[in-house]
């Protein structure tokens, strides 16, 4: 089985979010980047297929050279090779188009993407890929088994789960459940040493005109300071609600 895992390079969840250039760009300074958590669940499941079923695992990312450490981490975790499509990941459709092109020419049986990236949370790429390459698609996938060319996948639905059987080629939008947090792998030292020796192919994009451009980002309004009122001082509370908050 030939697996392609789509890896998004996203800010660590604890990052401080700020914008620069008149609020048109995300401020990168001091931000640490990681493998998108949903993709990491997928990558870990792919490693299982590699170890148990002899699958070959390729990881792919659409992005500039600065995303290579993230790909190399995926290699250190155990992926066999990596591809970077050398263009800015400006919007979901651009990314999906680039990925679909590689997938169509690469002969992949299974494409594992995350159901969404935690940076812009578009949640569209896996579905778009499936549409573009005309493959089966399971989103919000929380379990996946493959036997020959048939696959059994479970997906999260409102208040429960649904199990479907389908066949390869298949695209999934994966999430936690594919594996659990405790299954996530820490790259071991040998893996880190080997990562450098594994192929990381840089491919130029096909027609990469973005369909959308960001005009402006806004952060939610800052929460006002909290005023603590002692439990036995109801008068003060009423007066504050009336005079300052002006809600009563």
């Amino acid at each position: 089985m030939n697996i392609l895992v789509c890896i998004s390079h996203v800010p660590d969840t604890t990052s401080k979010i700020n914008f620069v250039d008149n609020d048109t760009k995300f401020d990168l300074s001091g931000v640490q980047f990681v493998i998108n958590p949903n993709d990491e669940f997928g990558l870990t499941r792919a490693m299982w297929f590699k170890e148990k079923q002899g699958a070959k695992v390729t990881v792919i990312n659409v992005g500039g050279a600065e995303t290579e450490p993230t790909l190399r981490k995926a290699l250190a975790i155990g992926a066999d090779e990596a591809i970077r499509i050398n263009t800015v990941a400006s919007d979901s459709f651009t990314v999906a188009k680039q990925l679909a092109h590689v997938i169509q020419n690469g002969g992949y049986d299974l494409v594992i993407a995350g159901r969404e990236s935690i940076d812009y949370n578009g949640g569209m790429v896996p579905g778009m890929i499936a549409g573009l390459i005309d493959a089966n698609f399971v989103n919000n996938c929380i379990n996946l088994d493959v036997d020959g060319t048939s696959a059994t996948a479970s997906r999260e639905i409102d208040g429960g789960k649904e199990t479907v059987s389908t066949s390869l080629p298949l695209v999934i939008g994966g999430q936690k459940g594919l594996v659990e947090e405790s299954d996530l792998r820490i790259p071991n030292m040998r893996g880190i040493m080997m990562a450098r020796k594994k192929p990381l192919n840089v491919m130029e994009p096909i027609d990469n005109a973005a369909e959308t451009t960001s005009v402006k980002f806004e952060k939610p309004a800052v929460k006002e300071a909290v005023t603590m009122v002692s439990v036995d001082n109801l008068d003060e509370l009423v007066s504050l609600l009336h005079n300052e908050a002006k809600v009563i």
Binding site: G30, P69, K73, I186, N188, M189, R190, I192, M193, A195
Partner: protein, 603 residues
């Protein structure tokens, strides 16, 4: 810049030569692989160690052992082991890095890791013969076996060569029989291999042996109960008794009587690694303290905005940052020296490694002392920032404080290491490896001359600091030179003088490393972007000068009188002089503003 015989300082030479910032390695120079290693280790520690901190405090020795096994699976135990013996064969900086980031969460795991990978494994990789290395090292590198190091005895602590444990050769000449008592043995409770030091007949020096241990067939080895300790509570520490333990002669390490040397060299490596191991504990305590200070409200204000707390936070961050600067500087020197020795073709890898570390034994002692004292201060002030909560077992600073205490005691107490640093320097000078006498004479001449009254141009960043560091080195040479002239080799008997001189030496190394680190970052990033680092380097130097002034005064007064004393005291004043005094309160505020805003130690 690539290290060459010409630009790579020898051990101790920092005192008499100037170092360029391009020639030091700093944590900012970690390459992508090192960055990935740092993240991998941190992820492991966050998940497996930090998350279970409370369990370690309940003396869960089995947890320490299972964490060690997991560390083995991830390859963390084999970083410095050569590839031929199942290791990664990585450089000394990588070794220091892993040791640093793996050690921050609890001293229990840190000690187990250090004892196994350092003193438990290194004696064999450094001194073992081919058969011994083939037989034992792969097992140690993978974590299949754990190692311990049995040197200390009830009556032989700092005086390690005075051990009473005996090794008696059998009549057929095939085995030694070891009998004796060892104490304070880390990892004793779960080790399969012991490096045991014992005396053969009435030899002057002890001899090292590799002793296998299998509880199912104990071969005369029995263990005391676990010691109940102030800190590192889940690190196994026991007495080990040997009663006619039979060891094949092939298991002698190196040659008869070479054990003391092995013991000391293993400790050299251990010392710099211990310094590294004291770094991440500081980062974690600082971050926890900042988070707490930002959240804790008193007088309707987060306590992090009070000057009293800001001062503590700034000093804690500064020490940690300075410790990093010096530890990685020396680690890279060791790595480069090893590579150079190997490349010149004369040394095998093993010899190169041994001599590379030995070369910087002075720096290793300096670092052990300085950084173990930083972590002690850091955890102490951490508790103070937490106030009453800091005294509670529920906060991570409480155990960090207890755990930090041991670092000043093991791997040679800080007193022993202070004296060693000066003792080794004197030996190096006598062997001609470091020319102290020439510069000392030059300083003495300078002192009798008329000082220049011109006000130098210090407009360039760090030009004044660098000039002060040069002067501090002169001050050391003045004090140590005069003391040595007065006492000769008997100087070793004047311990308080040795300790004071060592304080000067330590402060110089740390302060210079900090200035060089800051200068290097400024050159890369521009001063505006790194004003906090500049502030830390300056703040540290200011404190260093205070310590040096006191230590210098104590020393000078102890061995001189009359005109000579007056002249030296004047010299002291001259050498610690600032033209432009830094406003240290302002410096502290720059530092604390940054870290409280980032809500973590962020350098």
């Amino acid at each position: 810049m690539e290290a060459t015989e010409k630009n790579l300082l020898r051990g101790g030479q920092f005192l008499v030569k100037e170092t360029k910032c391009e020639d030091v390695f700093t944590p900012e120079d970690f390459n992508e692989d090192q960055q990935m290693m740092k993240e991998a280790v941190t992820e492991f520690v966050d998940r497996e160690v930090w998350a279970k901190k409370a369990q370690f405090e309940k003396k869960d020795y089995a947890l320490t052992e299972s964490c060690m096994r997991k560390a083995g699976e991830l390859g963390f135990l084999s970083i410095s082991v050569p590839e031929e013996y199942g290791g990664m064969g990585m450089g000394f900086v990588d070794t220091a890095l892993v040791c640093d980031y793996i050690s921050g969460a609890t001293g229990s795991f840190s000690t187990a890791f250090g004892a196994h990978t350092g003193i438990g494994t290194m004696p064999i990789t450094l001194y073992g013969n081919e058969e011994q290395k083939q037989k034992y090292v792969p097992k140690l590198a993978s974590g299949e076996w754990f190692g311990s190091y049995c040197l200390t005895e009830p009556s032989a602590g700092s005086d390690a060569n005075s051990g009473k444990t005996k090794a008696i050769l059998s009549a057929d000449g095939k085995t030694y029989s070891i009998t004796g008592q060892k104490m304070w043995i880390s990892n004793a409770g779960f080790c399969s291999l012991m490096i045991v030091f014992a005396r053969i007949e009435d030899d002057k020096n002890i001899t090292g042996f590799i002793v296998e241990y299998d509880p199912k067939s104990p071969n005369g080895i029995t263990m005391g109960e676990e010691e109940h300790k102030l800190g590192i509570r889940a690190s196994s520490t026991r007495q080990v008794f040997f009663n006619e333990t039979v060891v094949p002669v092939e298991n002698m390490l190196s040659t008869r009587g070479n054990g003391f040397k092995i013991a000391m060299n293993a400790l050299n490596v251990g010392r710099i690694k211990l310094a590294a191991a004291c770094l991440d504990a500081q980062r974690r305590v600082i971050t926890e303290s900042i988070k707490y200070a930002n959240e804790r409200i008193q007088f309707k204000t987060p306590i992090s905005s009070f000057g009293a707390i800001r001062q503590k936070i700034a000093e804690m961050a500064t020490n940690c940052w300075v410790g990093e600067a010096a530890t990685y500087r020396a680690s890279k020197n060791i790595e480069d020296r090893i590579t150079l020795r190997q490349n010149n073709g004369k040394d095998t890898h093993q010899e190169a490694e041994l001599k590379g570390v030995e070369e910087y034994a002075i720096e290793c002692s300096i670092l052990k002392v300085a950084v173990s004292e930083y972590v002690q201060n850091c955890t102490d002030e951490g508790i103070q920032i937490f106030g009453g909560m800091g005294f509670s077992e529920e906060t991570p600073v409480e155990s960090a404080w207890r755990d930090a205490r041991i670092a000043r005691i093991y791997e040679g107490t800080n007193e022993i290491n202070r004296m060693l640093s000066i003792g080794m320097l004197i030996k190096k000078a006598m062997k001609g490896h470091v020319d102290l006498l020439g510069p000392a004479t030059a300083v003495a001449n300078e002192l009798t001359g008329i000082p220049s009254f011109d006000i130098p141009d210090f407009s360039e960043l760090f030009s004044e600091e660098k000039s002060i560091i040069k002067n501090l080195k002169k001050l050391f040479l003045m004090v140590a030179g005069a003391a040595l002239q007065k006492y000769g080799e008997k100087i070793e008997k004047h311990q308080q003088l040795m300790l004071a001189s060592s304080d000067i030496l330590i402060q110089i190394y740390m302060a210079e490393s900090a200035i060089l680190r800051a200068e290097k970052i400024v050159k890369k990033e521009g001063e505006d972007k790194v004003k906090e680092q500049v502030a830390m380097a300056k703040l540290n130097l200011f404190h260093a000068i205070d310590v040096i002034e006191t230590a210098g005064k104590h020393s000078i007064i102890s061995f001189s009188e009359g005109d000579e004393q007056r002249m030296m005291l004047m010299g002291l004043k001259r050498y610690i002089k600032y033209v432009n005094m830094p406003n240290i309160i302002e410096l502290r505020n720059i530092i604390s503003d940054k870290v409280t805003k980032e809500n973590k130690y962020c350098f």
